[in-house]
C-alpha cells in the first residue's frame, strides 16, 4: 500500500494514512493489520489496529505510538512510500451481533486507536457512544477533536491536567452502572484488568482488546496466546485481539 499521509499528532504519536489499491475489504472495528517495517533493524512485522477507514477514498488510518525502532521507522514513512501490509486480521468488537444501545468505549494511551473506528461504526447505526479515555497527562490523550465528532468524550489524567484526576475506573461516569449496557476497552493490561473487574462487579457486558507480542499475526506460530476458560491457550491474533471478558481467566 502507498503512504497517502503521515503526520505527528502528539508528542510521540503519528497518524499514518495508507491508500488501499482498489476497494477496501470488509473490516470490523477492533481488527488489526501487520505492517512490514522499512528498516533492516527490525525483523518482524508490527501489529497495529485499524484506527479509521475512509470507504470513499479507500484509505486506512493507523494511530501509532512511537515506542521503539519499529514504530519509529513507521513514523518516518513519507508520502508515496510503499508499505507491505496484511489486513484485516483477527476478530473485532461484536457491535453487530449484540444489541448495544448505550456503549461505553474506554481507552488508555494509544489503546484509543481502534475506538475511533468503533465510534464511526456506532455513529453509522445512529448511536452516539460515550468515550472515556485515560492518560498520564492531557497531551497524551490523542485525537480528542476527532473522537468528539462521533460521541461524548470524558477523560481522566494522572496529573489532573484534563478531566478528572485518577484512573478511568475512578471516573464519576461509572457511579451509575446502569448508564451503559456494554463496555469496549483497549489499553494497557493493568487498565483492562481494572475495567474488567468493574464490569464483572457491576454485571456489565465487557469486551477487551489485547496487545500481545506477535510474530506471524495469522495463527500459525502460537506465540501470542492468552488462557481462556473454554479452550485453554488460544491465539490472540486469530481468536482475538478482542475477547469477551467472560472467556478470560483473569479472575480465577
Amino acid at each position: 500500500m502507498l503512504v497517502a499521509d503521515n503526520r505527528l499528532v502528539g508528542p510521540c504519536a503519528t497518524l499514518l494514512t495508507l491508500q488501499y489499491p482498489g476497494e477496501l475489504p470488509e473490516m470490523v472495528a477492533g481488527q488489526f493489520a501487520e505492517l512490514q517495517v522499512p528498516t533492516a533493524k527490525v525483523l518482524l512485522r508490527r501489529p497495529i489496529s485499524i484506527h479509521a477507514i475512509d470507504r470513499e477514498r479507500n484509505l486506512v488510518e493507523f494511530l501509532i505510538q512511537i515506542v521503539g525502532e519499529g514504530t519509529q521507522s513507521l513514523a518516518e514513512l513519507k508520502q508515496g512510500d510503499k508499505v507491505n501490509v496484511l489486513l484485516p486480521l483477527g476478530n473485532g468488537f461484536s457491535y453487530r451481533t449484540t444489541h448495544v444501545a448505550r456503549p461505553l468505549l474506554i481507552g488508555g494511551g494509544v489503546g484509543v486507536a481502534p475506538l475511533l473506528f468503533l465510534g464511526q461504526k456506532f455513529a453509522a447505526h445512529g448511536i452516539r457512544p460515550t468515550f472515556l479515555f485515560g492518560g498520564r497527562t492531557e497531551g497524551l490523550i490523542l485525537r480528542k477533536e476527532e473522537f468528539r465528532k462521533y460521541g461524548d468524550l470524558f477523560m481522566t489524567t494522572e496529573d489532573g491536567s484534563a478531566g478528572e484526576k485518577g484512573f478511568v475506573t475512578n471516573h464519576s461516569l461509572l457511579m451509575d452502572s446502569e448508564s451503559f449496557d456494554r463496555i469496549f476497552a483497549c489499553g494497557p493490561t493493568p487498565m483492562l484488568k481494572a475495567v474488567a473487574k468493574w464490569a464483572k462487579e457491576h454485571e456489565t457486558a465487557c469486551e477487551v482488546s489485547l496487545e500481545h507480542r506477535m510474530a506471524c499475526g495469522i495463527g500459525a506460530c502460537l506465540c501470542c496466546v492468552e488462557d481462556t476458560a473454554d479452550e485453554g491457550n488460544v491465539c490472540v491474533c486469530k481468536e482475538g485481539p478482542v475477547f469477551n471478558i467472560d472467556r478470560l481467566k483473569w479472575f480465577n
Partner: protein, 302 residues
C-alpha cells in the same frame, strides 16, 4: 525447462522447498496468501501423543535479525490431529509431513505408529531437538546414545520416510547425525532453534516466561549453513537444511553446502508468500546459470 524435483529417500518432492514445523501452522493459515500446492512439502506443527498447553505467555522476543520462541509444543494431541486436521491437510496436492515430539521414548513410538496408519502422510520428522520443553525434546537430541535409542524405537513403529530433526546445541552435530543414521533414519533435517535468552533491562526481568528460548531467523544462518555442510559430508542419507533462510539465494547456499532440500521457518512470518517466491527464485537461478536440474547444485560447492 529446468528440473526442480528432488528426493528424500524414496519420497519424491516436486521441488526442494518445504516449510518448517511450527512456523507454518497446518498450512491452512497460509492458503490466503499463496498456493501451498506449489511447495515440495509442508511440515506441520509439532504433534505429541497427548494434548499439550505449551508454555505461559510471553513466548516470543525479537532479537537482532532473529527471534526467540518458547511455544513449548502446544498442540491438541495426535488423536485430534487424526480426526480434525488430517481430513483437511490431506487435500493439499503436496507432501504433508508431521513433526512428532514426545517426552519419553514410548510416547514418540506410539505417536509415530498412529501417524503410520494415515495414507496421505508420507513421512514424519522426529523432533529430538525442541529446546522449550522440560522433559524429552532436546534432551534426546544432544547425546548420540539417546538419539539413537529414540530413533530405533520409532523405526520399529514407523515404516515410511523417517526424517530426524537435529539440535544445533551440541559440540559435534555430525556425531549425532551418524548415530541416527545408524539407527535407521532416512534423512536428517537441521537445524532446530539455538538455545538463547533475552532480558528486559528496564524491568530487570527475563522477557520469556521460560527465561530461555529457541533462537531462529537470519541471525542463525551462518551456524546452520556450517552444520549442514559438515553433516552432508558425514552421512550418506539426504540432509535437509534450514535455519534463517529468507530468500532463494539463502536456499541455494544450503543446496550448495549439500542439502537435498531446504525448509523455510521464521521468514514465513515476515512474508507469508516467501516459500513460493523461493521456488521461483531457485528456478530463475538454475536457468541463469545454465543448469538443467537442481541436482546439479546439490553439494556443488567449489
Amino acid at each position: 525447462m529446468v528440473q526442480l524435483n528432488t528426493k528424500i529417500g524414496s519420497l519424491e518432492l516436486k521441488n526442494p522447498v518445504m516449510t518448517a514445523s511450527g512456523t507454518f501452522g497446518y498450512g491452512t493459515e497460509y492458503a490466503d496468501f499463496m498456493d501451498i500446492n506449489r511447495l515440495g512439502a509442508i511440515i506441520v506443527k509439532g504433534t505429541t501423543l497427548n494434548p499439550r498447553q505449551g508454555n505461559a505467555y510471553p513466548r516470543m522476543a525479537e532479537t537482532p535479525s532473529g527471534m526467540l520462541n518458547a511455544v513449548g509444543l502446544q498442540n491438541k494431541g495426535v488423536d485430534y490431529f487424526v480426526d480434525h486436521i488430517y481430513p483437511e491437510v490431506r487435500k493439499f496436492q503436496t507432501n504433508v509431513i508431521v513433526n512428532v515430539s514426545g517426552s519419553c521414548i514410548e510416547d514418540y513410538a506410539q505417536c509415530a505408529s498412529i501417524i503410520n496408519t494415515l495414507d496421505d502422510i508420507p513421512a514424519i520428522e522426529l523432533n529430538i531437538s525442541c529446546p522449550n520443553v522440560k522433559q524429552g525434546g532436546m534432551a534426546f537430541g544432544v547425546r548420540p546414545e539417546s538419539a539413537a535409542q529414540v530413533v530405533s524405537a520409532v523405526r520399529k513403529a514407523y515404516d515410511k520416510i523417517l526424517i530426524v530433526k537435529l539440535s544445533p546445541n551440541v559440540t559435534d552435530i555430525t556425531e549425532i547425525a551418524r548415530a541416527v543414521e545408524g539407527a535407521g533414519a532416512d534423512s536428517v533435517s537441521l537445524i532446530n532453534t539455538m538455545l538463547g535468552m533475552a532480558i528486559d533491562a528496564e524491568k530487570r526481568k527475563p522477557i520469556l516466561s521460560t527465561i530461555t528460548g529457541g533462537m531462529s531467523g537470519p541471525a542463525v544462518k551462518p551456524v546452520a549453513l556450517r552444520m549442514v555442510w559438515q553433516t552432508a559430508k558425514a552421512v550418506k542419507i539426504p540432509v535437509i537444511g534450514l535455519g534463517g533462510i529468507c530468500s532463494a539465494t539463502d536456499a541455494i547456499e544450503f543446496l550448495l553446502a549439500g542439502a537435498s532440500a531446504i525448509q523455510i521457518g521464521t521468514a514465513n512470518f515476515i512474508d507469508p508468500a516467501i516459500s513460493e517466491k523461493v521456488v521461483d527464485g531457485i528456478e530463475e537461478y538454475l536457468t541463469r546459470h545454465g543448469f538443467n536440474s537442481v541436482q546439479d547444485i546439490i553439494g556443488a560447492l567449489e
